[in-house]
Symmetry: C2
Subunit: 329 residues, 2 copies
Amino acid sequence: MRDVSEKAGLSLITVSRALRQPETVQPDTRDKVMRAIDEIGYVPNLMARSLVSNRSNMIGVVVPILTSSLFADFAQGVAGVLQRHNIQMLLGVSQRSTLQEEEAVRTFIARQADAIIVTGFTHTDTCRKMLAGFHGPIVETWNLSDKAIDLSVGYNNFAAAADMTRYLLGKGYREIAMVGGAFENNDQATDRRDGFLSAMAEAGRKVRPEFILSVPNPTTIQSGADLMMRLLDGPVRPDAVFFQAELPAQGAMMACLSRGIRIPEDVAIAGFGDLSLSALLPVPMTTVRIRAQDMGERAANLVLGRLAGKASSNAGQDIGYDLKIRKSA
Amino acid sequence: MRDVSEKAGLSLITVSRALRQPETVQPDTRDKVMRAIDEIGYVPNLMARSLVSNRSNMIGVVVPILTSSLFADFAQGVAGVLQRHNIQMLLGVSQRSTLQEEEAVRTFIARQADAIIVTGFTHTDTCRKMLAGFHGPIVETWNLSDKAIDLSVGYNNFAAAADMTRYLLGKGYREIAMVGGAFENNDQATDRRDGFLSAMAEAGRKVRPEFILSVPNPTTIQSGADLMMRLLDGPVRPDAVFFQAELPAQGAMMACLSRGIRIPEDVAIAGFGDLSLSALLPVPMTTVRIRAQDMGERAANLVLGRLAGKASSNAGQDIGYDLKIRKSA
DNA sequence: TAGCCAATGATATACGAATGTCATTGGCGG
DNA sequence: CCGCCAATGACATTCGTATATCATTGGCTA
């Protein structure tokens, strides 16, 4: 900035004013400053500015994973809204580990992020403590809960899984197996499992313990295929399998088709998440559609509103879900 | 930090030393400091630290898009490596606009990023000028070029498209159409187109002008389906269509199948990018596989090496590509 | 021509930490 | 008991910018 002021033949203070309170300097002085700025290629140091203003214009976001998942849509939704407001997104990938989430949150706080957006309601104790001491808005996403730390934007995983289960039951499937991701430290996964169990109980159906399964994280097509093979070779064969993640469901479908097992006649398959390709599979996937990008945009807007001083009219937003009934179940 | 020193009954300076040069303070003093730190929940302000040290430990990354694309894999690759080194990723989404890329780069520079990773070699003039004045490592990715600004990690789009085209020609297809994304400001897309044209010319095949097509950005399943419909209804029907993006290829496949057009007997389809589901489609997609996550990891490692002072042994890295010959062509 | 106001300049301070230069303290050995 | 050294403290300065306060300048109006 000093260089700019010299180049323009003005005092340092005038340059600062031209940038921060343009109305207090003459238009032609402003022009001189601007010309000097782009002759020199001066870019103000936002860190120094933040140090004084106590506002970093950065927002931290933690997602469990990005590859072939709706979390990429979510992140893009957040980034899009933030960019329009000249706010930078700090992105952390937790690999579904609450410890890595904690680490990401710690970094966000250390870097003076103005707000923090995390996935889910499950956090380590230290992470909770840090968030409690954090002074900006906090958004928990991808689920709903009455014990939110602050704001939340998500959908009801329990109800979504229960609805899909009821649909399957209504179609006459009786021996329904369920495959989740790893359940530990994942409220979304456990809520879906509980939703499934609840709907089964409500219909008076017992669930075989060996029909409650999970695939390791990160969930992959392959793990779904492998698990399906084992299920098909087991003593009792399910007539429907409800996958609570989309990739394993797709893998399972591939496994069945390659063994000549018909879907949904021999075994029905339902997924969760509705990746863009699910409708294009050999047997279009019956699944639960989640509008992830919309969720990201809402989370970002909620944060921006709060930062702009608006009282949050809607601290817990439910974005809902849709059952996409296609051919696989 | 002042609070910590009071809590621990030590001077501010000792706390600072305990954190930055632990060997200069007694172990038990260090412990006192540490205990005070987590009783208070003190988190050092990295912005202030950066201001002095002239190192932000942040690296800016621009991708064109995240949703259902390999760029999500790429971003995850970068993020993973950086997190292990306590470096924060700043992510910008350019929506394939060089202007938005410029804006993202400007922000990265203003925020004192230590390095910048961008997609492709096409940038606005101001963006180029800013990058030229930037003092840290710069990586251009997703393509190769001999006019790289600094470092690069990518693959040869021209050669990849040419190879696939040669494969199609070898299979006996003659009337081959090509569908790219929008070509303006996208060196990857134009290189692929040129690779296609070059291979066709080399085989002595003329390409009908109406067989050089493009779908608007962002590329979608739907746009591929629509375009395929128009192609099929045109005066001359191609016997193969080479899509240079994966989603439109998948949409095109869906459009064909729903109209009872057989793939590859009536028309062959080839894609580019190999999303994880491409192998699972009704007709598994013949496509070009790009190891995006690996590319991200390499880019990140290249940058880290440079920042650590290593001379870049390998300023332009070629990660290659694989033709994935499946059923659709 | 006195007086006023707008535009600009000068100076100091703050933000939170890093760091260099000395000064002080306490413990130990000789 | 003196002197030395290690550990700790005090103080000042720096990073790049914002901002509050006060001083100066010049042009315009009454």
